[in-house]
């Protein structure tokens, strides 16, 4: 028994060292900007760079639009498939898993070929079009997580009974969807939303190949040209990931609590 405990603690210890060391090193490096002493100069420099604010807010806005459109697309689809077309579930699930099979770089490569300036739908010609492509790309990448989260939340409610009850009270389709279904799967939407947010804000490949002024390409640009700002940015990114995960944990706990109360 003691041997088992010893090996368990050893494994945990090795893990902690492997996980903490790069973070500690990054933090230490980010403090080295002023010669001979530790300071937060690198962070000051990051926050005073106006491209930081502009690219970051651009990425946040894109992520929020992705979440809104994604929820409006996924929730009715998951609802409809459960209610009216259960025979299509395997197909829809398969499609939502495809983005795990096709890497993001391949998907965006396809966009650039299908929707370039000489194609039938020249989306890359205008800023709006390119932004739309980026949003659709983010939606595609988050599809497996968003669909799974919403579908799991929908499993705990009886869609058919809710719909019949609402219909017999004279509710229209929009009322059913937005007043009955959405509130009931909100926790699923939220946990899907945080994952989407975490994916979209830091994403490099897609915005970079679409030439969008997003946070990911900005990070890479700083990484290529500066010494002390990149570790500071890495610490900021790590803190943001941490916040997203904590929010996901809170919402899944709420979801479990709601399912248990029912």
């Amino acid at each position: 028994m003691t041997a088992k405990k010893f090996w368990s603690w050893l494994a945990v210890f090795v893990a902690v060292v492997y996980f903490i060391l790069p973070l500690a090193a990054t933090f230490e490096f980010s403090l080295r900007m002023r010669r001979g002493t530790y300071s937060f100069d690198a962070y000051r420099s990051v926050f005073s760079d106006e491209r930081f604010a502009s690219t970051f807010s651009y990425s946040v806005v894109m992520a929020l639009i992705t979440i809104a459109i994604g929820a409006l697309l996924i929730v009715p689809t998951a609802y409809w498939v459960r209610l009216r077309m259960p025979y299509l579930r395997p197909v829809v699930e398969f499609v939502t898993l495809l983005p795990l099979v096709v890497p993001a770089i391949v998907i965006i490569f396809g966009y650039l070929r299908l929707y370039n300036s000489s194609s039938w739908l020249p989306l890359t010609n205008t800023d709006t079009g390119a932004n739309a492509l980026l949003i659709f790309g983010f939606m595609t990448m988050s599809l497996p997580y968003m669909y799974r989260a919403v579908d799991t939340a929908m499993r705990t409610i009886d869609v058919a009974v809710l719909t019949e009850a609402a219909e017999s009270l004279g509710a229209s389709w929009p009322t059913i969807l937005f007043k009955c279904i959405f509130p009931n799967v909100l926790t699923g939407v939220l946990s899907g939303a945080f994952i989407t947010f975490a994916i979209a804000v830091g994403e490099y490949t897609m915005p970079s190949l679409l030439n969008r002024p997003a946070f990911g390409p900005y990070l890479a640009l700083i990484g290529a040209n500066r010494a002390y700002e990149p570790p500071a940015l890495a610490m900021i990114a790590f803190a943001m990931t941490w916040i997203s995960i904590i929010l996901i944990n809170i919402t899944t706990r709420l979801q479990k609590g709601a399912a248990g109360a029912r």
Binding site: V12, L88, V102, I105
Partner: protein, 290 residues
């Protein structure tokens, strides 16, 4: 019969209308782009069917990129799986305090999502020429890491970096499988006189191997498709498939668009096969988790 037919059709039409937005989205932004590239891999510039592009994948430059990509992905998946399994076993079966388990799982959730460009920065600050670990090894232990030929922008460096998100991913996926090992099984085995080794060999491994092997494939595909970390870490100095494809999309460095499609097709084939086997194995494994 004639009277019910139109009714049925109307219902069918509303059914399909309800799913139309999703279908259109999926076709336009997921299926069509993939099909376009995959079919492009089998066409020559004039639009005739050919296998030339796929054969051209075996030219030394591209083949080398695939080989090093597969090596890095396999090494980081294997290393991540072994270390991740040890950690998962420790927190699941090691009778450690429960806070260790929940702290480790939360941290793994964060670390498995900590990828891309920031991860590259973190490892440059750790094992780069001026990184903390490099400096400590040099000043405290008198060991010059870079004199041994180590380079972060290499097979070993990239593998170590990828393992930072591979290990936590393994922990997150395999811990539930380990939790699914019922205590009764080990008790039953020991009552029947099995040694711990026999219990592992004849009960645990047959139950867990689909999960472990499946996750290994998932980690492999995960590393194979990772672009941002590699680009940010190495620029374009390391010849791996995602970087080749990235450069090809940027400016047709292969001087043959259809060969570019073939490179993309090769990526989809490799991540596709590993993911399909993963999903199939996971369905097998879930039989034991109910």
């Amino acid at each position: 019969m004639a009277a019910t037919q139109p009714l049925l059709n109307r219902r069918l039409i509303t059914d399909w209308l309800g799913i139309a937005p999703f279908a259109i989205f999926a076709i336009m932004f997921l299926i069509a782009p993939t099909v376009y590239l995959v079919s492009g891999a089998f066409l020559d510039p004039n639009g005739n069917l050919t296998l030339r592009n796929l054969i051209d994948l075996f030219q030394p430059n591209i083949l080398a990129a695939y080989v090093i990509s597969i090596k890095i992905s396999a090494a980081s998946a294997l290393g991540g799986a072994i270390i991740g399994f040890a950690i998962a076993a420790a927190i699941s079966l090691g009778s450690l305090p429960s806070w260790v388990r929940s702290a480790m799982l939360t941290f793994c959730g964060v670390a498995s999502n900590f990828a891309g460009v920031p991860l590259a920065f973190a490892f440059l600050a750790t094992l780069g020429r001026l990184g903390l670990v490099t400096i400590i090894l040099r000043d405290v232990f008198g060991f010059n890491l870079y004199a041994t030929g180590f380079n972060l922008l290499s097979f070993l460096g990239l593998t170590l970096t990828y393992m930072y998100f591979q290990i936590p991913l393994m922990v997150l996926i395999i811990t539930p499988a380990l939790d699914g090992l019922k205590r009764e099984w080990s008790e039953a085995a020991s009552i029947l006189g099995a040694s711990p080794w026999q219990y592992w060999r004849m009960v645990v491994i047959p139950i867990l191997w689909p999960s472990v092997f499946g996750t290994l494939l998932l980690l492999f595909a995960n590393a194979f498709g990772a672009v941002a970390t590699a680009v940010a870490l190495t620029g374009s100095s390391l010849n791996i498939v995602p970087i080749v494809l990235f450069a090809q999309i940027r400016g047709d460095v292969l001087h043959n668009p259809n060969l570019g499609y073939a490179v993309a097709f090769g990526m989809v084939v490799i991540t596709g096969i590993s993911n399909f086997i993963y999903i199939w194995l996971r369905m097998r494994a879930e039989r034991w988790q109910k």
